[in-house]
């Protein structure tokens, strides 16, 4: 219909042309990224805490030389001409931050009498670094005493991770449980957030029309149902636009970010494999990459778009109905919205279960029931949902939308012209099932 197109156009342009649209669209991801960047920066700055450490190595673990990690900026200085007792009392005045004392020890027993002296409690990272360094030195000494060269040791040392391969007749693919979990959860979460944010936007739009009394003018030109659907589709288009901008921004930033923070680049990390606190870092990144490759991105993307649209349309019509019965009062709106929020929250709860138990009865039910399926199905989609279930879920969602659009259209038609009266749910249900 031509008139629906006009309404969609207005709803879309009025929102997209607003200054606040551009602001939120660009600022929100920037704030998120700035937040993560700050966190990463803080995390990294910890490791560059350069301290000067006095070492008395009576066991001669280091042979007077520390082979330290590149990310360890600390300076180790060996002291040979002073007694431990004197250094212990005056290392601070000698210009050192800490004093590491390694007494004579039997390298074949676990040494418990190595001591590190400091003025105040030492940080975990620093302690870990020193421990790692000492352990490495002891290991080396033990290898030497057993007559094993470091090369031999490398060939003996085992560090495995088990690969989960899925065989479903057609092809064999590698699966990485963590990645599937993460992507599923993220998709479900995203749909959940979308339904709430844009549903609320529809509700506010309807309330605005009602409170401004423009609704009466418009419905003398178009059918109330056209007005409602026009608004829902228009705002949906705003949502899609916003997402498109975000995706472009995220992709752009992924390429731009490594230029500013070199160590943020996963490839660099892989090459050096020297990122703090993550021994098997290179392996993790490789795993992740494999995991990401193993995902059916086409299917995910299709389902995401389908459930995004279906879920949004269904809930937006419910939000529109609520908006139409509320008059003036924000608080009233919150009360009326609660019954709609319940199934969304329920969907989220089922989804968080479905990502770890994708074939449990509750997950299957949740992914078929139209009020919860958009969120729950996205939580299951990574785990090869049977095609029949997927199709059933989609058909039910479409039917659900048609049903709710018809129902809420009737509530909307009555509600939008009713002023000054508080509408109860009982009345709304009566309107919904009344013959026109």
């Amino acid at each position: 219909m031509n008139k629906i197109a006009l309404i969609i156009q207005r709803e879309y342009l009025v929102r997209v042309k607003k200054k606040s649209f551009l602001l939120t669209t660009i600022l929100v991801p920037l704030i998120i990224i700035a937040f993560y960047a700050t966190m990463i920066a803080i995390g990294m700055s910890n490791n560059t805490d350069a301290s000067k450490i006095a070492v008395i190595d009576q066991a001669n673990l280091f042979n007077g030389h520390v082979e330290k990690a590149t990310d360890d900026a600390s300076q180790y200085i060996f002291i040979t001409d002073e007694a431990p007792e004197t250094v212990k009392t005056k290392y601070k005045s000698m210009g050192y931050d800490f004093f590491l004392y390694i007494p004579h020890l039997d390298i074949n027993k676990d040494a418990a009498n190595i001591e590190l002296f400091s003025q105040s409690p030492i940080s975990i990272a620093q302690k870990g670094q020193i421990e790692k360094m000492v352990n490495k030195a002891i290991e080396l000494k033990r290898l030497q005493s057993a007559n094993i060269s470091p090369e031999q040791y490398q060939s003996i040392h085992s560090d495995i991770s088990i690969e989960n391969k899925i065989v479903n007749g057609k092809e064999e693919k590698k699966n990485v449980a963590g990645v599937a979990f993460g992507v599923s959860f993220a998709c479900g979460m995203l749909i959940y957030i979308i339904m709430i944010i844009y549903g609320m936007m529809v509700m506010r739009g309807v309330m605005e029309e009602k409170i401004n009394r423009i609704a009466e003018v418009i419905v003398s030109s178009v059918k109330p149902f056209q007005l409602m659907m026009g608004k829902i589709i228009g705002i949906g288009a705003v949502g899609i636009t916003q997402f498109a901008i975000w995706i472009v921004l995220i992709i752009g930033l992924q390429y731009a970010l490594p230029l500013f923070i070199p160590s943020f680049d996963p490839h660099m990390m892989q090459q050096h494999g020297q990122v703090p606190m993550a021994g098997g870092n290179a392996g993790m990144w490789a795993n992740m990459a494999v995991g990401l490759h193993s995902i059916h991105w086409g299917l995910i993307l299709f389902c995401f778009v389908f459930y995004f649209l279906g879920g949004y349309l269904l809930y937006a019509s419910l939000f529109a109905a609520v908006g139409s019965v509320v008059s003036e009062d924000q608080q009233e709106a919150q009360q009326m919205v609660f019954p709609i929020m319940m199934p969304i929250i329920l969907a989220f709860v089922i989804m968080s279960k479905a990502v770890s138990a994708p074939n449990s009865p509750i997950a299957i039910f949740g992914s078929l029931f139209p009020l919860t399926s958009p969120v729950v199905m996205m939580g299951r989609i990574m785990y090869d949902v049977p095609v029949t279930q997927l199709i059933a879920s989609m058909v039910l969602l479409v039917l659900g939308f048609v049903f709710f659009a018809w129902l809420t259209g009737k509530i909307y038609r009555t509600g939008i012209l009713l002023y000054g009266k508080k509408v109860t749910w009982k009345e709304m249900i009566k309107w919904a099932f009344r013959k026109s």
Binding site: V14, R213, V217, S220
Partner: protein, 310 residues
């Protein structure tokens, strides 16, 4: 053929008979006053005519054919009592949008909006938002959006509220022009002096029922009370005539009522015999305001809720 023919229209709500069997007809080019106290059912009646509500019973014919809201949308312009415009939308865009919803093409709508804006000296408002307008300015804009698509039936609910006399006259003049071009106008208001000035036909609605229907002059004739005004150069000291009774004296004017069995000529004869100089003599018709109060008087100010068995 009548522009609008409303037959036995009924709309019952759970607690009220909002419109209870109302019939009337409206000729092309006439200005029709829909009067009634608050809550009489005017808004419900108007909403049924604009197709916003469906009547429970009764029919509405438009230009001789059964009224269908979808097809006749473009023929009707409705200005509700509560002004409704998008606050955040630019005025020019808004007027064009509303005209497009009535079925005009974008180019046509733009051209007409420009013409009306020039006529009403609103050109400088084009890029302003509605929230920046005063109440009266908003009123003018609303009027423009109501009549922009040249509707055959224009329904105006309190169109002059919040307008200064200059702008009131501007709108009044437009209403006359539109009626002259053949549009029928339904004009709903409580302001009786405006009705007397503008309307040629009125109906009075109270408690959902029509209690008065007729032309403005006809209604006044119907409710006249035999009261006359007489202007004299000087009023004689003693007035004692069998033919009339003096209601009050005002400077050189006498307000009198003629007794049963006498005619106005008897009154004039009396003053001629008194050698009084008569400047003018005319009948005083009741104002619509008086008629309104008289008819509605005695009914409670606000409608009470009642249970409807239907």
């Amino acid at each position: 053929m009548n522009r609008l023919e409303v037959n036995h229209l009924k709309k019952y709500y759970a607690t009220q008979k909002a419109v209870d069997d109302i019939s009337f007809s409206l000729a092309p080019g006439s200005v029709f006053g829909l009067l009634g106290p608050n809550g009489a059912g005017k808004t419900t009646l108007i909403r049924m005519i604009t197709g916003i509500l469906f009547p429970d019973e009764g029919t509405i014919d438009f230009d001789g054919k059964k009224f269908s809201p979808e097809q006749q949308v473009a023929e009707i312009g409705y200005m509700p009592e509560e002004r409704g415009l998008y606050k955040k939308m630019k005025i020019g865009d808004q007027a064009i949008y509303l005209a497009q919803l009535k079925g005009l093409s974008k180019a046509e709508a733009t051209e007409r909006v420009k013409r009306w804006f020039i006529k009403f000296e609103m050109q400088s408002w084009w890029n302003k938002k509605v929230e920046d307008l005063s109440k009266g300015m908003g009123q003018k804009l609303q009027f423009v959006t109501t009549v922009l698509h040249d509707p055959k039936l224009i329904i105006l609910d309190e169109p002059f509220s919040g307008l200064d006399p200059v702008n009131s006259n501007l709108i009044k003049e437009e209403i006359y022009q539109l009626a002259k071009k053949g549009s029928s106008i339904i004009f709903s208001t409580h302001r009786m002096e405006q009705v007397e000035e503008i309307c040629d036909h009125i109906i009075l609605v109270n408690k959902g029922q029509k209690i008065l229907d007729g032309s403005v002059t006809g209604v006044k004739q119907e409710f006249k009370e035999n009261i006359f005004a007489l202007d004299l150069s000087s009023i004689p000291d003693n007035i004692n005539a069998p033919s009339f009774e003096v209601i009050r004296k005002e400077n050189n004017q006498l307000i009198i009522t003629i007794r049963e069995g006498f005619k106005s000529n008897d009154v004039l004869q009396y003053f001629l015999n008194q050698q009084a100089i008569i400047n003018s003599f005319h009948e005083v018709l009741p104002s619509l305001n008086d008629i309104f109060i008289k008819l509605v008087h005695g009914t409670p100010l606000a409608r009470q809720f009642q249970t409807v068995t239907a």
